[in-house]
Symmetry: C2
Subunit: 289 residues, 2 copies
């Protein structure tokens, strides 16, 4: 991605470790260029012990905004002056906006998931949703859906019992919808899937290189079910292939990935993100692997 740099070029940054394989610089630089903004996006590898000074540095250096990625999403919440209420419940941020030196934290992962649903004409309103997994992605999506929509029900299944229990307990404080936790087993998946309108895979199952694996047996899927997989590498996971051939409504993780970047772009710049070019860049990158 070639972009022009002069003394007036504003800077946005990725903070994580490692950062070398991130697509974010390509996506955001393409978007800045397309939108005609004199901004550049660079990646900074930051060690855990340096996170505090790194984030204070964002403010001191007048860096416009940042993406926060693994392993800093939780710890970064301690170094910003204000946290979006949904991100505060999630307990992690992946986006920082520098508002005249005041750093504000957001979590665009959940917002990206919600926008991916809306872009496909799928509203979570009144839906019964099954989330598979209880880690960071599950927390981000579960709180965003529970706080931004009136769900008819929310079920979390996962292999780490205590993590599931904490997430269910936390979710009950923010939604009046029934929230339930369960173990991730064939029997529980079968019964919850039969009662839900939508399933969202928030586990890494099916991710490259174990591309033949799926978190949900194909036999439990049915026509009309919404199947959303946060995994985007490969673009078509085994779960999405099974869902597609069963007549489910499928939504790929790449749509969430693009939309979380769209949300970041709009938080930093205040202007509408050029979604088409961002989508083009990420699809080229993911397909090229």
């Amino acid at each position: 991605m070639m972009i022009p740099i002069d003394a007036k070029t504003g800077v946005c940054a990725l903070i994580g470790n490692p950062v070398k394989h991130s697509f974010s610089p390509l996506i955001h630089n393409a978007a800045f260029k397309e939108a005609g903004l004199n901004l550049v996006y660079v990646a900074f590898p930051v060690k855990e012990k340096n996170l505090g000074p790194a984030i204070q540095g964002l403010s001191a250096l007048a860096i416009r905004g940042a993406s926060i990625t693994i392993p800093h999403k939780v710890a970064a919440t301690r170094h910003v002056g204000w946290i979006d209420p949904v991100a505060a419940r999630i307990g992690s941020i992946n986006t920082i906006v520098n508002d005249s030196g005041n750093l504000k934290g957001y979590n665009s992962d959940g917002m990206g998931a919600l926008k991916a649903l809306q872009d496909r004409g799928v509203s979570p309103e009144g839906k019964r949703i099954l989330i598979v997994g209880s880690g960071g992605a599950a927390r981000g999506i579960a709180f965003t859906l529970a706080m931004r929509a009136r769900l008819a029900g929310l079920v979390i299944v996962g292999v780490i019992r205590n993590e599931v229990a904490v997430l269910v307990d936390n979710l009950r404080t923010v939604t009046e919808a029934p929230v339930e936790g369960d173990a991730m087993e064939e029997g529980t998946l079968r019964s919850h899937l039969s009662a839900c309108d939508m399933v969202i895979n928030c586990t890494p199952v099916g991710m490259y290189p174990k591309v033949q694996e799926s978190p949900v047996p194909k036999a439990f899927l049915r026509e009309g079910l919404v199947v959303f997989d946060v995994v985007y590498n490969p673009l078509q996971t085994q779960l999405l292939r099974d869902a597609g051939s069963t007549g489910c409504h499928t939504i790929s993780g790449v749509e969430m990935f693009i939309n979380q970047a769209v949300v970041q772009f709009e938080l930093w710049t205040g202007v509408k993100a050029p979604e088409a070019i961002m989508k083009k860049v990420i699809l080229e990158q993911v397909s090229g692997r």
Copy 2:
């Protein structure tokens, strides 16, 4: 300047206030591109109260190196872990090298001036040198010449008596050559010029927009004298025009400016700077004004 940016692109930075009109991003980005290095140079406007966190941020964000400019050159010395001995005497740094998290401070202004002389085949060894002015530029050049060459004599003339006295006193601790300070008046200029081999203008006299002014009356110049003007805007100052028409050896401030950038580039990257492209970019910029 178009340069490619991806997740592996390393970052160098300018820290100053204001930074908007700096040529450094254009020069260094052209040089990185020419040298085939995956590096980008961006400018950060930093307020004085934020200098400490900004410099700590360089280290935490793994920024490779930085240029420090007005108003931070003196204060920045307090925020690095090691200072080059010449820069320590000068009392200011304009370059930071991030050596695996350890920040090292240098002053490439004086080194750039020395290199500008050497590039033109002018050695300061055994010379009697008159420096006009006693501010930051004068300190940088005076200490670099006094510590890196055996001068036959060094005279500082300036309008701020106390500043001249301090500089002369400081210089005497680092050189065995006779060092003398004097007021900046017609009489003193005439007599010192007649005894010196080289005069270096370190005042802003002659800088745009007052381009007809010169710090030294033309009548005091003579054939064979080396006349070096740190002012580079305009490229041909009144002093250099007078010197050229009198048969002096002239060296322009732009040569020092290019060479201080060359020194920075080599300190950050460890590879030989592509001087020709750096010179081309700066000449285009200065001529275009």
